[in-house]
């Protein structure tokens, strides 16, 4: 049974890679989840090997009771996005996955400063929960798309139920999707991303 991504990739998402890439990989993740930490270098490697053929999207799915630091880590990444745009988000995303064993609030603020953003603004955002609704919206969208734990991946808007730990199998599935995706219009174009080029006429 296929499990589709119910909330399509849209302008509110954190997106890395070209909007017309033939394959889109969506991850629902938790910055404190050990398995997401293990998936991080695998995803980086897959992205590197596919280059411009892959678009990567990260959405939050913090399990707050199991991972007491996950919520603030997610909110801090949103604060980094607010201050530093897309680059700010991805820089913070990488910092968090590279430092999963140190995710106290002080650590989060240190990472913000290290990527050149205003730690005090992030501190205030964490204290007032400014980005909690944003994180919750991601979480809810995951629940409705069959995300039962983390990490959960969607390849071209279908849940990937194979093994991501097996990098070769994971890469193969994404390459296959890229090849079939190249023969049809890119998925997730119901909302045109801000950086999207003008729609091309069908060749």
């Amino acid at each position: 049974m296929s499990t589709p991504l119910t909330r399509k990739v849209n302008a509110d998402d954190h997106v890395a890679g070209p909007s017309d890439a033939p394959v889109t990989l969506v991850e629902y993740g938790d910055f404190e989840c050990e398995f997401c930490g293990r998936a991080f270098p695998i995803v980086q490697s897959v992205r590197k090997s596919l280059g411009a053929r892959i678009r990567f999207v990260y959405r939050h799915f913090p399990l707050r009771e199991a991972h007491p630091h996950a919520e603030h880590a997610a909110e801090a990444s949103e604060a980094a996005a607010d201050l530093g745009g897309n680059d700010g988000f991805w820089a913070m995303h990488n910092q968090l996955f590279n430092n999963q064993d140190a995710l106290e609030d002080d650590d989060l603020l240190r990472y913000v400063a290290e990527i050149g953003l205003d730690a005090r603004a992030v501190d205030e955002a964490l204290a007032s929960g400014t980005f909690a609704p944003r994180v919750r919206a991601d979480f809810r969208s995951g629940v409705r798309s069959g995300v039962n734990g983390t990490p959960t991946f969607f390849v071209n808007e279908e849940r990937y139920d194979g093994s991501w730990m097996n990098e070769r199998e994971f890469t193969r599935a994404i390459l296959d999707a890229a090849e079939s995706g190249a023969r049809r219009p890119p998925v997730g174009t119901d909302v045109v991303p801000r950086s999207a080029p003008e729609p091309r006429p069908d060749a």
Binding site: L63, R64, E65, R144, G146, N148, G149
Partner: protein, 203 residues
């Protein structure tokens, strides 16, 4: 009468023990009275007037069960919007439940179908004779104690929460217990408080 018509008259084939048929929509939910702590009982009628999500699962401490319950634990806000309560049921004893709930910070009751073992599971058609445990199954029961949705998951697969949320969304105001008194989304459901024995044991 043709041969095809004649076969319709035959009784249903016996149900295989490993493929139970759950109680369907419209069935009155069987009553139960189970221990949630060594000295506290929880009954079906405790939840009268509000929807109840019954989560049958094979065993405390097993990996899939832990993930499944951790997910529902994160969804209390979402269940609250429907005024719905949630309980887990397995054949583990109440002391085991207490240790498991404390370790995982679970904020909903776990009920022990421990003695006579599996009696309530049997009444809901979710007892695995081969293993002596509950199946992995979900029930949504309405405010009047009628089954509105049920789902049997493969034993090793976390069924997630999408089906539960869809079932709750489909309940009528009457089935939600909202026919006479208006309950705002997210409002506290203090008129029918669920037993929360977990909090007594928390620091």
């Amino acid at each position: 009468m043709t041969l095809e018509e004649a076969t319709i008259e035959l009784p249903d084939p016996p149900v295989l023990s490993d493929e139970p048929v759950l109680l369907g929509e419209g069935t009155a939910a069987p009553d139960f009275s189970l221990k949630t702590t060594p000295d506290q009982l929880v009954c079906l009628s405790d939840f009268s007037g509000r929807p109840l999500v019954l989560v049958f699962y094979p065993a405390d401490w097993s990996p899939v069960c832990g993930d499944e319950l951790a997910l529902y634990n994160e969804l209390r806000e979402e269940f609250d919007e429907f005024g719905a309560a949630i309980v887990g049921i397995s054949v583990d004893g109440p002391w085991c439940h207490r240790a498991f709930a404390e370790a995982r910070h679970l904020h909903f009751p776990l009920l022990s179908d421990f003695h006579p073992k599996g009696e309530v599971c049997r009444s809901y058609h979710v007892y695995r004779e081969s293993d002596g445990t509950a199946e992995r199954a979900l029930y949504v029961i309405d405010a009047k104690g009628i089954v509105r949705w049920s789902y049997l998951s493969p034993i090793g697969v976390n069924p997630g929460a999408d089906g539960i949320m869809t079932a709750l969304e489909r309940l009528t105001p009457d089935q939600l217990g909202r026919a006479r008194r208006e309950r705002r989304p997210g409002a506290a459901t203090s008129d029918a408080p669920p037993p929360e024995p977990r909090d007594e044991t928390r620091p």
